[in-house]
Amino acid sequence: MISQFFVLSQRGDNIVFRDYRGEVQKGSAEIFFRKVKFWKDDGEEEAPPVFNVDGVNYFHVKVVGLLFVATTRVNVSPSLVLELLQRIARVIKDYLGVLNEDSLRKNFVLVYELLDEVIDFGYVQTTSTEVLKSYVFNEPIVVDAVRLQPLSPAAIFMQGTKRMPGTAVTKSVVANEPGGRKREEIFVDIIEKISVTFSSSGYILTSEIDGTIQMKSYLTGNPEIRLALNDDLLIGKGGRSIYDYRSSTGSGAVVLDDCNFHESVRLDSFDVDRTLSLVPPDGEFPVMNYRMTQEFKPPFRINTLVEEAGALKAEVIIKISAEFSASITANTIVVEMPLPKYTTRVSFGLEPGAVGQRTDFKEANRRLEWGLKKIVGGSEHTLRAKLTFSQESHGNITKEVGPVNMTFTIPMYNASKLQVKYLQIAKKSSTYNPYRWVRYVTQANSYVARI
């Protein structure tokens, strides 16, 4: 049961404010914002998503730089409220096509209308875009998506590849197309976030893939959909899978540690043929989340060499090797490495003929940053950095630097090899043939090489 809901901009302005129960004072948004902005508690720099000030519990999630906040005085389930805040953001995005400060401000009346139906007197009524359609009457004022900051995960498909219909994912589920007619299409995105930690000698210490099969449907008439995954897919490390008599290693099978499913997914034949069937509701939603710790080939190898080069000097060499097919290109790569705190100057040397690369020494937090616009599969890139120190290092310089951290996005690549074999839409007629988009993307979550 929640008392108030509000959305604040980065500067702390109220964009929408809804008081459902009148139990919490009106100034709560200000109290909240001040607390979050000046959070300093026990060495934590960042306010946790849940905290209590004078008997009022504040919950918040950050979505595209906006703060979605709920308050209550009751001892509720934190998971429920945080999940709800995230869901409200998603419903609003379904309606507005693009979620950001501008679109919220332009559509605040519509947002109020949504909020009135989502929650009544603090109790959740519905968060289904589908159901809400029949209660909500304002037409969204669609903002221009081009000049907006891209937001994930939809935006990751818009970078540097022409295969993706860029605007579709920022399309409102209710607004009509300029032409008047809606395009029949459905998007299925396999989004994987990978975490790898390499030891100083290059061994993989830990690795994990957290994946989501995300769906966004613009099909009219809610046809049933069948989604077939790899037929040798195994779930659970022994014990729970019906295939567990098979050896999981060497067979090339994809073994998931665990997974969960959206409410609408029916698993009737999942155990037999690894097929999910569902009638997709309107809007964007995760069909399935999965987690995998089975070994996989990391897309990048990172080699780092740190050497002292005379008094008050050292040299860092970072080499990145892309170990994936040459037909695939990674983009927006950033490599970061903390340097000794007594570093005063860094001079960089890129390989000859390097294009689309930038280097930076962030003095404030003594960090080396190396950005690459793209990396083609199979290629290698090297950075040399000469460091100058203000004091002598105490013998072991490698203890003062690192680890190297890397972020990247690789479209049309997935590390787990989980696949959507086919996407079948129950046919209404022989001429009915909607557009289907099945897209893969891999992103770094925590990709770290120790030194």
Binding site: D13, P49, N75, P78, F108, Q125, P286, N289, P403
Partner: protein, 607 residues
């Protein structure tokens, strides 16, 4: 259209209150009120939007209440909705004006469009004006019987709103029994869920004064009600499922068959993508099996994977909420999670509140087989750029050392910390070495060799400095220059800001004196004199006490200050197991995140 940009700033005394704008709006609304010109609704919409946008940013637009009500005579549903929103916001502070709205709201409650009936009823009940409650009873009664389920869901919550405005009116109108009937019979699951929410609130509040309400509240967790709700569980929305599961967790089954039936029924809820549903289900499983040790343990095994999946999917905030729950489970049964320790490794980009929880979990699950790897990992964090986490990691290493697994290797690592020459690392490590020595005096030789090489000038943090001084006093016979270090510290008495450090210094000098009298005598005099002159009461008192003790009898003084010591076997836990149990009882609530029980904090007036 967008509200004017300059109006987004939150109002402050230096800014215009928007008075000019409000009177502008007032006259414009007046012009439109009587008009029946075509396209009038569009102009009204724009004006209404302006009013609502002012309301949002905190400008008081209650002055246009009358005009808004006049304009509300429309069949345009978008306009109606904005008007309802406005009225709901200002009725409470303008009860007289609110009366104006009663008429049109009551009329709308009888509209042929169920949408409008529902909206009007919701607004009517949201006025929160005590002297208008008489107007609510009739429409609410009709609403509960409406053939449209949307109107009924609104009416049920309306009853709860009425209860909060005037409890006697609500009770006298016999609404609670009506809700109970609806809860057990309505075909619409959201009506059922709302009845449950409303009844839980009403009966909990009534229970303090009414026996009957108390009985009714108990009846909600009776077998027939629970079974009825469980059998419909999949009809409910995910949020309503949470509500039902929360209730089921309170139910006490008669025998183990019942327990297994419920668990089998709810098994697939553990695969739900909504973390709140999964946590509510887990709560049911944990509570049902509390008295069945084996099954309870199996439940832990079963819920591990889903919890880990939730932690790694979803937003960082959602993952934090789940991780907090995983945290208390790990603390309760560390051995079950011992092989999953790698899941508790910190990731580079995680916020510190997540890393902190993970470090505690890593500490808890450390055992013979994984300690080496866990400590190796923690040592990586100790060199981390994130200083608070580096500190926590060193503390974690220390705690693991105190748990007695593989102490050898750990002491080596701790001593390596001392050699890293990062001041905060040295500081944390010193405190830990002190604790370790209290538990494992046999390590003193190795430790003292390293500690002796640390320059006291490089140690500034009070806790670390105090630890170093403690070691200087305690092991002064093994550290050759102990008296001289203490001497130089005493010389800087005036510059030492921390009373804790000065207290430790006094005691260390005393200890050193009994072990090496000739070398320490002069320092002791200086320290006692400085202590007696100290402005801090505790320091002064301790100096005086030592002074008198020495005057009275030196050998008694020695026995007081330097008694034979026994190694500490167990350090006091910061949180009692009783409190941990009670937090566990409040699984899936804020108590878990705050690590506090309801009665300890101000949260919660009912459950």
């Amino acid at each position: 259209m967008a509200p004017p940009a300059q109006a987004h700033r939150s109002p402050s005394p230096s800014q215009p209150s928007g008075k000019g704008e409000v009177s502008d709006l007032k006259s414009q609304l007046r012009q439109l009120a009587g008009s029946r010109a075509p396209g009038i609704d569009d102009s009204k919409r724009e004006l209404f939007k302006k009013v609502i946008s002012y309301m949002t940013i905190g400008i008081d637009v209650s002055a246009v209440f009358g005009e808004m009500v006049m304009c509300s005579a429309t069949s345009d549903i978008v306009l109606k909705k904005m008007c309802y929103l406005y009225v709901g916001n200002y009725a409470k502070v303008n009860p007289d004006l609110a009366l104006l709205t009663i008429n049109f709201l009551q009329r709308d409650c009888k509209d042929e469009d169920p949408m409008i009936r529902g909206l009007a009823l919701r607004s009517l009940c949201s006025l929160r004006v005590a002297n208008l409650v008489e107007y609510l009873v009739g429409p609410l009664g009709l609403g509960l019987k409406d053939n449209n389920s949307y109107v009924r869901t609104v009416a049920v919550i309306g009853v709860l709103k009425l209860y909060h405005i005037s409890a006697p009116t609500c009770i006298d109108a016999d609404f609670p029994p009506t809700l109970k009937h609806l809860m057990l019979n309505d075909p619409d699951p959201q009506v059922v869920a709302n009845c449950l929410s409303a009844l839980q609130e009403i009966w909990s509040l009534e229970a303090s004064t009414s026996e009957e309400a108390s009985r009714e509240r108990e009846a909600l967790i009776s077998k027939p009600v629970i079974y009825y709700l469980l059998n419909r569980i999949k009809e409910f929305s995910e949020w309503a499922q949470c509500l039902v599961l929360e209730l089921v967790a309170k139910y006490v089954p008669l025998d183990s068959n019942e327990i297994f039936d419920i668990m089998n029924l709810l098994e697939d809820r553990l695969q739900h993508a909504n973390g709140a549903v999964v946590l509510s289900t887990i709560k049911v499983f944990l509570h049902l099996t509390l008295s069945m040790t084996d099954v309870h343990q199996q439940v832990y095994e079963r819920i591990k994977a889903p919890l880990l999946t939730l932690v790694s999917s979803g937003s960082p905030e959602q993952s934090y909420a789940v991780l907090s729950h995983l945290h208390i489970l790990v603390m309760r049964a560390p051995f079950i999670f011992a092989s999953d320790y790698k899941h508790f490794y910190c990731q580079y980009n995680e916020p510190s509140y997540v890393k902190k929880l993970k470090l505690e979990m890593l500490t808890a699950v450390a055992n013979e087989s994984n300690t080496y790897e866990i400590v190796t990992e923690l040592c990586e964090y100790a060199a981390n750029v994130d200083i608070p986490i580096a500190r926590e990691s060193i503390r974690a290493v220390g705690k693991i050392a105190l748990q007695q697994y593989d102490v050898n290797a750990i002491v080596d690592r701790l001593l390596q910390f001392l050699e890293m020459e990062k001041d905060y690392v040295t500081a944390e490590a010193l405190v830990l070495v002190k604790d370790l020595l209290r538990k494992y005096p046999q390590w003193s030789h190795d430790c003292i060799a390293v500690v002796g090489s640390i320059s006291s000038q490089n140690v500034q943090e009070p806790k670390a400095k105090a630890a170093l001084i403690w070691m200087l006093g305690e092991y002064s016979q093994d550290m050759q220059d102990a008296p001289y270090i203490l001497e130089s510290l005493t010389e800087n008495w005036e510059e030492e800001p921390s009373a804790e450090v000065r207290l430790h210094l006094l005691t260390a000098v005393m200890k050193c004196f009994f072990k090496r009298p000739p070398e320490t005598q002069k320092v002791l005099g200086a320290a006692l004199a400085a202590g007696l002159a100290d402005f801090h009461q505790d320091v002064h008192d301790r100096a005086l006490f030592y002074h008198r003790l020495l005057q009275y009898n030196v050998s008694v003084a020695e026995r007081v200050v330097n008694p034979p010591k026994q190694a500490v076997s167990v350090f006091a836990d910061t949180q009692s197991s009783e409190i941990k149990d009670r937090i566990f009882d409040e699984f899936n609530s804020l108590s878990v995140v705050y690590q506090k029980v309801t009665t300890m904090s101000k949260i919660g007036f009912h459950h």
